[in-house]
Symmetry: D2
Subunit: 346 residues, 4 copies
Amino acid sequence: MEGKIPVAILGATGTVGQKFIVLLQDHPWFEITELAASPRSAGKTYGEACSWKQDMPLPREIAEKTVLAAGDALESRILFSGMDSSVAGPLEEHYAEEGHVVVSNAKNHRTDPDVPLIIPEVNADHFEITKKQKYRGVIVTNSNCVVMPMAMVLAPLHQAFGVEWVQVTSMQAISGAGYPGVPSYDILGNVIPFIAGEEPKVEIETQKILGTIDGDVIVPADFIVSAQCNRVPVVDGHTENISVKFKKKPTVEEVKTILTEWKAMPQEKKLPSAPANPVIVFEEEDRPQPARDLWLQSGMSACVGRIRECPIGDIKMVVMGHNTVRGAAGAAILNAEAYVSLGYLD
Amino acid sequence: MEGKIPVAILGATGTVGQKFIVLLQDHPWFEITELAASPRSAGKTYGEACSWKQDMPLPREIAEKTVLAAGDALESRILFSGMDSSVAGPLEEHYAEEGHVVVSNAKNHRTDPDVPLIIPEVNADHFEITKKQKYRGVIVTNSNCVVMPMAMVLAPLHQAFGVEWVQVTSMQAISGAGYPGVPSYDILGNVIPFIAGEEPKVEIETQKILGTIDGDVIVPADFIVSAQCNRVPVVDGHTENISVKFKKKPTVEEVKTILTEWKAMPQEKKLPSAPANPVIVFEEEDRPQPARDLWLQSGMSACVGRIRECPIGDIKMVVMGHNTVRGAAGAAILNAEAYVSLGYLD
Amino acid sequence: MEGKIPVAILGATGTVGQKFIVLLQDHPWFEITELAASPRSAGKTYGEACSWKQDMPLPREIAEKTVLAAGDALESRILFSGMDSSVAGPLEEHYAEEGHVVVSNAKNHRTDPDVPLIIPEVNADHFEITKKQKYRGVIVTNSNCVVMPMAMVLAPLHQAFGVEWVQVTSMQAISGAGYPGVPSYDILGNVIPFIAGEEPKVEIETQKILGTIDGDVIVPADFIVSAQCNRVPVVDGHTENISVKFKKKPTVEEVKTILTEWKAMPQEKKLPSAPANPVIVFEEEDRPQPARDLWLQSGMSACVGRIRECPIGDIKMVVMGHNTVRGAAGAAILNAEAYVSLGYLD
Amino acid sequence: MEGKIPVAILGATGTVGQKFIVLLQDHPWFEITELAASPRSAGKTYGEACSWKQDMPLPREIAEKTVLAAGDALESRILFSGMDSSVAGPLEEHYAEEGHVVVSNAKNHRTDPDVPLIIPEVNADHFEITKKQKYRGVIVTNSNCVVMPMAMVLAPLHQAFGVEWVQVTSMQAISGAGYPGVPSYDILGNVIPFIAGEEPKVEIETQKILGTIDGDVIVPADFIVSAQCNRVPVVDGHTENISVKFKKKPTVEEVKTILTEWKAMPQEKKLPSAPANPVIVFEEEDRPQPARDLWLQSGMSACVGRIRECPIGDIKMVVMGHNTVRGAAGAAILNAEAYVSLGYLD
């Protein structure tokens, strides 16, 4: 590769947009050359337009860039979209129409039958469906932040034992709601046992990711998913309690072995953002925990623990993942790396 | 009833003991006459011995009482036990042997086949088993704080439709761990997906409460319970996501109607601590919540919401209860009221 | 008094408006007859218009009332204003013009020289200034929630020893910011060392409350106030560390005695919302605390502890008060009671 | 320097001991060769003896080391002491007697007149006093975690303008209390306005650090310090509101300039753990904040913001520092680096 690939960030001032900027600092393949946001921000420098909320200081060269209006013509081949779902739908189509590779974290096109919901470890073969898209360019999406770590854990198990059903109860961090997001009055010392629109998303996206391409569409996997989603007073890191029924019942040891040893395309190709292990298995009885394990392997792995028998399903366990890294911006970046690595950009 | 019934509190300085004192203030039937605690506290006034952590100021007449040593001879007929499980086992037996009615919140005797685990709305008939106990007095217990609201919700549904299995994922408040309990470093901004010994307790106690007396023992209900227990940064109020499979599938409306209309012995007899409705059904999509609904009906009801179909079980819902009121001291007091009201004390 | 005095609530759907409704339930003198809010809510029932966030269920008779538009003609003599400061200014003037007694919690008119900032224990004589107002009716305000408990503590000390300066550092609860207020992402596990506009308010209002009437205006007290305001992850209850320099240095014991024994007009007249003691003095070295002491005397007292010598000022101490009760709606209600009790309404 | 300097960690299993291990990973000068802890842990591997609570996984080579008993003979020249103050006093003396350089974070010897309380940017000249110590080796300490960022901010200002008095109100993170430390029941949604023994420590240590060597002892600076210390529900990062009176009143701009430009011995000698800027000055009106700014310059800088005039003192401002990095283990490591760099080890 000669020179870095120029990339743009759509929705650059938002929560996900800011995370793209953090995660793309010093990226070996990609270089941020354009920042686009709402017309309200356009024309200002990024430093003026953005209420920066990240741990690292805003890099000076980013702060000084002039923000473009989303919809403006862009020069970058790859566009990372962290736009709000209220505007992402038509804008992403527009850019795909214009020939760009839109790597999106927005939910708008996730259910389009010809738009793949990619986790490169799980379904890199779904990139093929992009050839059926009607656009000059393409739209590639990543999954919801709850689905991400669960799908990573289910994928190798589904292949080995066939998932029949999965029950998941989530305890989700407030960063998943964006900014300003959840009012503190609602969540300090509280649990909110409802997140608008989340449960159907979890159910549908899990089936799609583990589905198969059939002609022009992705056919969802035929197992059942039942989700119960809760918000808890945690800043980053979604914790999930899941119970799985398999077609062929595995032992606890088999599950541990398969998850521990699992490696896939991003690991084999050593993609820059790929974790060494897509799944980290804990033996400690009280792990994983968001406050302790969030940043293992740079927040790009699914953490799993308490793997044990379930008297109703076959296996129950605790899954935890970094919702704004592997569950959002980091996922999109890994998707772009996989897309490039597999030769689709050429 | 002439005059109030004198009662003693065992483990009076602890978290549950303090709650007994709060809830027995101005009780129409019971009067605290004796306070017992560990030998370390014995001989001191209660005000000296206790690190009072309740919202209301410590009543002066309680503060001035001299603390007795647990094990000392007591005069009260009814003893409320909030003793730590590390010592409660033999001490409760001792007092039962001495002829007292030990109404306990400790876990030690909950699994004894001749000791009833009472929720008066659910299984007041289990008091009968106390006649089979080997003691001159009796031991009566209440359930674990997670089991309590779930069993209250399941009871009328089990009667109507027959529970086949129930999956429960709990998000438990830190007050359930006593004091000092959970270190703040472990729980601030975190979820701990494990509570030592809790899951088996939830599974076994639920079956026992909904079981039936057969001769000298209580035979557990034969449905399956699978529990996953988590600690969350909430002070009071356990939230639970449950999914239930019934022998005969009910509609969502049938479940709501049965739970809304359900009244039982404590309501009929108007026991002083009985809530008007044992179960409060919410129609709002984001309720119940511990921070909002904890104190409805003085913390003595089970709150339930989001009653909806489950694609794996039949019905899923959110249950919430006050873990230190209806889930602990309040439960024991209601048990004592039911015991007295049903004529067992005479 | 024959029959209750009809009152209206302006800004009825907001945080303070809801608190008015809670605190006026079963009030012996006042009866809520009208509810007014923004045009967006007008015409709906209160139950439809309001996102009720209080611990007690919304009373049915309130829920069924039709919300009026703020600005509409009202029949109630007394109007409690919990309107947002973005609209309260002219609307309160309008209603005063129309002859109503506007008892306001909004900040807009607090600095008007002829509008009194009343704490009935401290400056009930300031009601006199309302006679100089240009309105047919009157506007009466209460102080900022940080000022309230501090001014209550300073008042009797100022009278006895003369305050020279006071430094206050506040740790303020998030409920003080209204709803939605502070985003959880900003405050979970964090301290925000800034609250827009708060420090000048604290400085100016403290001086005004402890000031004196001179002709047509209130002349502020001439001591210096320096405030540093912080937001902390607490739901209700502002904690303040203060240091005071007096003209005549008191002993720690003198301060404790004066604060403990202090009673004033609301206590003497036994106003319905008056606390038995305006100031509660703690001897425990780690009190007061919002989580423990918030509801003492129904949240209407200032709590003070750790009274000790300061090597820079004379005395330092910890002050804590319920910011949405005594610091907002409860203060306004007590003001109305004092106004009525002193015969101004006739 | 040929080869790394072997170091030992005393109190290796505790909170500070664990932080030493984290911060000494890949240290260019020091290598952990010995781990000592209480007799209870001795003989076990570190992995067995320690309840590891850090973000990074426990390094394997550390996990496999056998823990020695504190008091055993050690071979390392430099011993980092994170021992609990209940045992640190005599053990540190013992090791100093044996010829070791004890670089301690414990409070026990901080007030010994011949033991320096070092912040290398502030008083590296105080190392000289170690020559007066009675031990074959030496004891060097660092300050309390509240004092650290404040002393760093005061040092250059004291030199330029002469501090007359300083008032500080702290809002301290729970990690400062060690583990298990503060019970969650005491701090969730609460402020505790008292930390045992903390205020005198803050007052005395600040004066000592800014004092001067006179013969065999360190003479404390003669300005007055008044501290009010609070615990807040924050995991890491102490926030402080301070007000300072100077002998010669500076302008706000002068203060900003001096703090921004200040560099000292650790920066000049480029010590491995030295921050590029000992003090980071914020212009944003709501910064610094622990949740945002904790890790700037690896947690080794004092963060300061809201520098403005005080109507009582001259200047007030907000100071924030990482209490377990620059306020504890990181401070000790920088002290050791300075000690070595200045040639004292030779």
